[in-house]
Amino acid sequence: MAIMANKLTKWFGEGDARTYAVREASFEANWGEMLYIVGPSGSGKTTLLSMISGILRPNSGSVSIDGRNLWSLSDDDIADFRLNTIGFVFQDFHLFPRLTTAENVAVPLILQKRSWQEALRAASRCLEIVGLADKAALPPTRLSGGEQQRVAIARAIVHQPEILIFDEPTASLDGETGRKIVSFVKSEILTAERCIIIVTHDSRIFEFSNRIMEMEDGRIAGFEQGVACEA
């Protein structure tokens, strides 16, 4: 089992102002799976994603990753877990505008204290995978939205993490570009040793999912088999 979430609960505010973002959410995700999380705005998708990726500490419940109890680790170990096990693709990319594309992709390896030389070599390999080898020396500001998204993906896989977390990966892309990218992730990035979790509103990319998990008002409302599974 890649991820096992057990009764995860997160609330914000105290006393009368307390609102539950996620209530007792339990689910599992498997290796080799591309799991979608969908639901209306404010239903707790990002909060849940943060709790399973070591970004936000739950108020109660537990997360186990590959059998390890995530939130019982020390803060430093949790940071190391994010650094080594997770690849993030943020909704608005968060690329450094003044570094080159290759340097941006190299960042996780730099944080892992690999040498710049090694990191840049790995980065250019990943840029090749996402089809941007010729843009390595440009700053990301010179790239189109779809290209920036691919840079963000290259950065998320450069350190070969087992779990990839995408929050709204297609929100700032046009439909065709979004489809292309997710299709690419499905065919090139997803392996039997990986687990990819995607939060999305975008029904045009549902066809690439293995399973779709629906959230409503902080709770998990149900699962649907993704299109890809039936195929």
Binding site: S50, L56, R82, L83, F90, H94, V107, L111, W116, D167
Partner: protein
């Protein structure tokens, strides 16, 4: 850590505009601080020029006149005898310091400082560039000091004649001294008796008594004994710091220098602090993204400290370079330009630039430590 520092460097330097503003802030701050304090140090050194140039270990003087070399109150001859008989005094000789009006060859008048050296020992004599020291005993012999004021004597050569208070004078030697004088008058050396003969003086004539102790350990005893005579004995160092303190605390020069230094510091601090803080704020979401990706809080702190420290060091180097270039250029044009870059000045500037960097860095660090990766993740 080297990898993180390289990342810090790239992030800092690639932001040309901010980086330039940061460097301008620190560079100018350091430049102004070094410039101000060096000018002040130069004035202090020059004010003590005679004390440094005469080079005696102990100076005995009237205790009411210790602020400048020229404000001496003459002492009666018996003081000299009394000092000579103090235990631990190897020898003691009188020194005359006064000023005279010269009439130069072309008829112009020029005031000069005249130092009269003891006739038998010539204690405190300068090093000669030209001429023979024994010629100082020749009729009307004077030695001119080749400092910044030398041209005011019409660049005399050996044999050049002039009138001194209506007496004839002739240059018999050219001397060099370690430190030029502050007050803009050329200096002549002659013998003690010729000095008091040519320059009108009161009943007492000894400006200072120069004392050589048998050993340094005798100095405290000599000072006590001189005090019992009603006079003051100071080591050369004490005399110099007395003169410096007078300029620092009694004339306003010190206060103004201090004020300007503080202002330079504050200007540098506000420009640099402001810019650095803006730099951090603009990059806050990126720092947050780094944190989300697994950078630890302390790694981000190191990253910011490196950026602040790097800026400080480069700005420090540029500031000192700029000050040096300017001081050198000014010295080329104005020989009497008083400025001396001391290690204390450099240390002070370094300290202040470190404070600027720490203050700027601290504000940035606080903000960066407060970022919640979750807020970045939520967008």
């Amino acid at each position: 850590m080297k990898q993180i520092f390289t990342l810090a460097y790239k992030l800092l330097v690639s932001d040309r505009g901010k980086y330039t503003a940061l460097l301008v802030g620190t560079t100018f701050s350091v430049f102004l601080i070094v410039q101000m304090t060096s000018a002040f140090a130069g004035i202090l050194t020059k004010a003590s020029a005679t004390v440094i140039n005469v080079g005696a270990k102990i100076w005995v003087m009237d205790s009411a006149a210790t602020n400048t070399v020229f404000g001496s109150i003459p002492m009666p001859d018996y003081v000299l005898d009394a000092v000579r008989s103090i235990n631990g005094v190897k020898y003691a000789e009188p020194l005359y310091v006064g000023s005279a009006l010269l009439k130069l060859h072309d008829g112009t008048y020029q005031s000069a400082t005249v130092i009269g050296l003891d006739d038998t020992t010539l204690l405190g004599r300068p090093e000669l560039l030209e001429g023979n020291i024994d010629d100082i005993f020749a009729e009307n012999g004077f030695i001119a000091v080749k400092d910044e004021e030398f041209p005011k004597l019409e660049n005399p050569k050996i044999g050049t004649e002039f009138e001194l208070n209506d007496n004839r004078g002739v240059i018999v030697g050219i001397a060099k001294v370690p430190t030029g004088a502050l007050y803009g008058t050329p200096t002549l050396y002659t013998t003690y008796y010729r000095a008091i003969q040519y320059i009108p003086s009161m009943r007492f004539t000894i400006s200072y008594i120069l004392v050589a102790p048998k050993a340094d350990s005798d100095i405290p005893y000599i000072k006590r004994e001189v005090a019992r005579l009603g006079y003051l004995a100071m080591t050369s160092q004490e005399f110099q710091s007395g003169i410096s303190d007078y300029l620092k605390y009694k004339t306003g020069i010190g206060t103004n220098t201090l004020l300007m230094t503080v202002i330079s510091f504050l200007v540098g601090l506000s420009i640099t602090g402001q810019t650095f803080y803006t730099f951090i704020i603009e990059n806050l979401e990126h720092f947050g993204a780094l944190k989300a990706m697994g950078a630890k809080g302390r790694e981000l702190v190191y990253l910011i400290i490196f950026q602040a420290g790097f800026t400080a060091l480069v700005g420090y180097g540029l500031g000192i370079g700029l000050a040096t270039v300017l001081i050198s250029a000014a010295k080329l044009r104005l020989p009497e330009y008083a400025s001396r870059v001391t290690f204390t000045n450099l240390g002070l500037a370094f300290l202040l630039v470190l404070i600027i960097a720490s203050a700027s860095g601290y504000a940035g660090v606080r903000r960066v430590l407060k970022i919640e990766p979750f807020d970045i993740f939520r967008g």
